[in-house]
Amino acid sequence: MAALKPGTLAPPFSLSSSPDQRIALSEFRGRPVILVFYPADWSPVCGDQLALYNELREEFAKFNAALLGISVDGVWCHLAFVQNRGYHFTLLADFEPKGKVAREYGVYRDKEGFSERALFVIDKDGIIQWSFVSPVGVNPGADGILSALEALPRWPA
């Protein structure tokens, strides 16, 4: 399975972001979206990676970019994880059907039943402009995301 490449229209989705709320990708039309697929809440590398992005909210905001984390964990698990770690961004539950969105982006690991550690930067028109799949055990950091955001046409267009 290969991750969707730059130039591809980002597959639309609507997923639960909390026990009583759903978020659709289409709501972010008009601004860039950073989509962060990660294997699992609570795992050590995921926690460190998301903590770094959490610290970079101001930097991402300079590009008016929305940051969305996504894993196969359910909403209650996300809720506990977010509260425990003090994250201030949305985690989406790719929970039912399990991993459907990850599959559509070409980043699902069938054998393990969770997603790759994959990053997508989607532009304001919903086109993937950059994608990167990191080895599952390696925190990819944020340099690639920031470079991708810098390469987008300046907003507001």
Partner: protein, 179 residues
């Protein structure tokens, strides 16, 4: 994507221990509240002693504030101490009392290190060194630092095992290759 080189060269803004002429430079991106950095602290000390005048050690701030509520305060306190010529004294003391981090510890250390306490307090209240810490942080991010501690040896990220022998061996290899 795998940017493994230091994007910001060691310069005037940095805190450096060891001679400018040293053939080896070890840059650490660290967080005063991070337990792994705390564990690495004696290792860096031992490495510095072992390599003596062959090594310069540089420390840059990378506080993960949400996870470590006292990390930013500690980083700014060390910078404020630096403005009074005592960066490494404060840096060492903060790591040596990592479990007690907080405003009270900073005050105690300022007194113990004979700093101008009113000036330090003012620097912290006015957040004088917030930008400095943020510049360190972003320099780390742009150099591909994803977590702390991260070390660079002569500008190249060290991805090996974090123990004294492995790090020493990597430094030794650099000396070898410089010849």
């Amino acid at each position: 994507m795998a940017c493994v080189s230091l994007t910001i060269a060691v310069g005037k803004e940095d805190h450096v221990q060891g001679p400018v002429t040293a053939p080896l430079t070890l840059v650490e991106y660290g967080d005063y509240e991070c337990p792994y950095c705390g564990a690495a602290y004696p290792m860096v000390k031992a490495i510095a002693k072992r390599f003596g005048s062959k090594l310069r050690v540089v420390f840059r701030n990378m506080p993960l504030n949400e996870m470590h509520p006292n990390a930013e305060l500690a980083a700014e306190a060390a910078e404020a101490a630096a403005a009074q010529g005592k960066f490494w004294e404060m840096h060492d003391a903060l790591y040596e009392h990592q479990s007690e981090l907080g405003p009270e510890l900073v005050r105690t250390l300022a007194r113990r290190l004979h700093l101008d306490e009113a000036r330090l307090e003012d620097d912290l209240t006015s957040r004088r060194f917030r930008d400095h810490v943020r510049r360190d942080f972003m320099g780390g991010v742009r150099s591909g630092v994803a977590g702390t501690p991260t070390f660079f040896i002569n500008g190249e990220r060290y991805d090996g095992v974090l123990d004294e022998e492995s790090l020493a061996a990597a430094l030794q290899r650099q000396i070898g290759s410089a010849k």
